[in-house]
């Protein structure tokens, strides 16, 4: 919650606003599911009017859907699309390096930005079977840069993930992605319920770049499963603006994604 008053905005609304600022005008964005669908709508309605959205179900758009979306394949996302097609066509653009930014959801992320959405524990006898990659691994490997959003908990931000579904910077060594043939540039930010972690140019280990209003660096460190580096220039995350909040609430009127 913000400092300014009771329940001015939720953690999810702040995450959507922060995610939307990662979208640059003119980007082709591989949108994914859940909060990023709202982030695309917010960006398109503010600083990125020329941003295009690409959806692996087989859709391209240059404007947000005109009604609430529970999934990317919901009918309002198809009406007014620039392109309704097959998935392999959407993947073709990403395989050519034409997707500027991708969003990926994750259950676990590590200090080098590797995501696990497959297995907690031994894959042969998992403690937890997570749903799997979906398009996550494809986005992580092929998009030019990507961002992940998750709840900030020690069990989610871990020293090393036990299973790499969607690779970030691998073992963190210099040039790991290039050496292993990964086309895209890798993760640029981990947006959590407490703050924003960023990576150095060229990849490597995540550091704390900003802390959300009302949160502290100590709180972030206590909820991170490794000794998180803190940027000398660590700042406070800018709160959602009135217009960002208005956009979010327009596209999520019942709070299905941001207030439940």
């Amino acid at each position: 919650m913000s400092k300014g008053g009771p329940a001015a905005y939720t953690a999810q609304e702040l995450m959507v606003a922060v995610a939307s600022r990662e979208i640059r005008d003119g980007d082709l964005v591989f949108v994914g599911m859940r909060l990023p669908i709202l982030a695309y709508a917010v960006a398109r309605n503010s600083h990125a009017p020329e941003a295009h959205g690409l959806f692996e179900v087989g859709l391209m758009r240059d404007q947000p859907a005109s009604a609430f979306l529970g999934t990317m394949g919901d009918p309002p996302n198809v009406a007014g699309a620039l392109w309704a097609t097959r998935m392999s066509n959407a993947m073709a653009l990403m395989a050519q390096g034409q997707v500027d930014l991708g969003f990926i959801g994750g259950a676990e992320v590590d200090r080098f930005g590797n995501l696990n959405t497959s297995y907690v524990g031994d894959p042969n006898r998992p403690q937890v079977k997570l749903p799997g990659s979906g398009g996550g691994a494809d986005i992580a490997i092929l998009s030019r840069r990507w961002v992940t959003l998750m709840s900030h908990e020690p069990r989610r931000l871990v020293e090393r993930v036990s299973f790499v579904t969607s690779p970030g910077y691998g073992d963190g060594s210099s040039g790991w992605r290039k050496r292993n043939g990964l086309l895209g540039g890798g993760p640029v930010a981990i947006i959590t319920t407490l703050g924003v972690l960023r990576f150095p140019e060229g990849g490597g280990e995540a550091h704390l770049a900003s802390v959300h209003p009302g949160r502290t660096v100590d709180e972030v460190l206590a909820n991170t499963g490794w000794r998180l580096q803190v940027s000398d220039a660590v700042s406070e995350t800018s709160a959602p603006t009135e217009s960002e909040l208005a956009s979010i609430r327009l596209f999520d009127p019942e709070g299905f994604w941001t207030r439940s």
């Binding site: 859709l59 009918p75 998935m87 990659s133 690779p167 691998g170």
Partner: protein, 290 residues
Amino acid sequence: MAQAIEQFVPDRATVAMGVALEPLIPFAAGHEIIRQGRRNLELVGPISDSLFDQLIGAGCVRRVTAAWVGNVSEGLGHCYRRACEQQVPGPLEVHDHSNFSISLALWAAAWNVPSLPTRTLLGSDILHTNPDLSAIDGLVHVKAVRPDVTIVHVQRADELGRAHAWGPLGVSEEAGLAAGRVVITCEELVESSVTLSDPNRILFPETKVVAVVPEPGGAHPSPVQGFFKRDHAFHREYAERSRTVEGFEAWLRQWVLDVPDRAEYLKHVEVDSLRITRPLPSVPADFGYE
């Protein structure tokens, strides 16, 4: 429907469903498979929303070859978790894919080659758990996956198997071409003059199609462009009730086992609130030739 499933989906079959991703999922066909007590199926698909979770919980499945199994708007698939973590109701073999790689596996089968190369999945541990994927010289080779039968739900089809679907298609085309047989369920059964008026929109060669089942509402709770919205509340209720074995079994009795067919099922759904009522038709293409 009962006849089509009886005839074309035997025990141990490899069955592709949910191939348009979130829309057009053939839930009615899946529920008939459960009612007929099929066993040891291999399910193939990209995401399937909660349909694969239901078939797994009902004990129909021995292997899943998919990119994602869960509940798209709600998250985890509880039956999938129980099968993988506790072997309940039985053990389950998983061949993990990404969305891109399952598409390539189906295209490989469609083109009758052993595998197709790609740059996706480099650096992913999926390469180590799925024997159908191998990295050689900087490329990942995705082994062909050939469904015995692909089941799709579409907006309209004629009785000779020409199906029209519109909206995003996911991996529908490669799943149909790769399959030995295609079973179609549809909102509307139309004359051939309708389907043949727009041959570009026909999804599969009719030579692949072995059955056409008119099944209005057969994709509920998934959406059908021009016909039905997605029933988000139904997905939420399934997620909550399937958290426990007992809850799932009660859900399964209520919505599948104690229901004779889709027409009866739909009497218990608030269909009117889900029906799309405002038309937004495309302009017809002119196929003139003289």
